[in-house]
Symmetry: none
């Protein structure tokens, strides 16, 4: 918990308070740390291992929100600590894990006394918010890069030429997107050495990588 | 900004600082307040009106995250203020709006000096996180007919009117679907006598059947 101490102006006695209220636990890979029974588990500090945070539909469909690693801590397993959190997640050990679980009331108590700790915990949670948004957008908006790859490959197959003579605007119309987005995506593909943006069009540099993109 | 003052231990001179750095603006319904050009607009305080916060896919598909009302304030239009936010949203005036827009650097500056304000802003953002999770779960896990029913019922509850004045296209944007699919689904619901598609909108004919759909 040294990280936490450095970032939050905790005194030695604060740290002691947390340690007194922390359980040292080890979980086997696959163990459900939080979420199945609706209790407020506590703040989980990861000494080693990886945990996965996800949501689950009524029918059991899972969506991974993000993962946490060594030295990270998980606030969503202690959502009762943050009054503004009103949703539930599941937390699993994705590998064997060694963690401290701090009792939610003890953590809450210290947050009330120490604004820096509150600030740190909130900031961390807002950071996770960003990760969740990223995951959600991936899921919600099926990847445009795949569609672009399909289009480029089809053009190559149709014309027999690796140079596709089209503006980004024209390609955007073909795949139902916007010019800016196509340009951005082509930049990603050229960074990966798959295509090259040239005067008057796009050249396919690596057909097999392009196919990989389509089929993955 | 009285609310803010009460919740955050701001001094009169802090409030003055914010007021000096606030622009009083009025927006017409439908105006894009934030998000189209990638700039950090600022913290938006709503004096009157409703704003809608949403994300947009590469193809222009919109997913509404939440709405804000009188006396609420929007931090995501000032994501540069919160370092832990790394995603972009769009913000539109859903009705005519009267707002204050506080310059991001001025707000950041005060947050750095006043931990109470920082915590308040972060807490509010974490609260929005909860609303976003709710919206996302709706999109990800609910069948579309249910989502449509929830949306129609919420609109009725919000406006107090059984006539929902929206095009199928608009509804599709709200629930993260396509116009064709919404039209098809509305046809199913009207066959069951739950709604009627009328000129300029949809009329709810049977509230209890609509609720049944939501809860089954």
């Amino acid at each position: 918990m040294q990280n936490l101490k450095n970032s939050t102006h905790l005194t030695d006695s604060d740290i002691e308070h947390l340690q007194h209220n922390a359980l040292h636990k080890t979980y086997n890979k696959g163990y459900n740390i939080h979420g199945d029974d609706g209790t407020c588990t506590g703040v989980v500090f990861i000494n080693s291992g990886i945990i996965r945070i996800y949501i689950m539909s009524d029918e059991g469909k899972e969506i991974t929100l993000y993962r946490l690693y060594e030295d990270d801590f998980c606030m969503l397993s202690a959502s009762c600590v943050l009054q503004s959190i009103s949703f539930e997640v599941h937390v699993d050990a994705e590998t064997d894990c060694d963690v401290f679980v701090i009792r939610p009331d003890a953590f809450r108590n210290l947050m009330d006394r120490n604004l820096y700790l509150a600030n740190y915990a909130l900031n961390t949670t807002v950071g996770r918010f960003s990760e969740v948004m990223w995951a959600m957008q991936q899921v919600l908006f099926m990847s445009l890069d795949k569609r672009l790859a399909v289009f480029l490959y089809d053009e190559y197959a149709r014309t027999g030429r690796l140079l596709i003579k089209m503006t980004h605007e024209q390609i955007a119309k073909h795949i139902g997107s916007a010019r800016e987005v196509v340009s951005r995506m082509l930049k990603y593909l050229s960074r990966d050495g798959i295509v090259e943006v040239v005067r008057g069009g796009i050249t396919i540099l690596d057909k097999s990588k392009l196919q990989n993109l389509i089929h993955n």
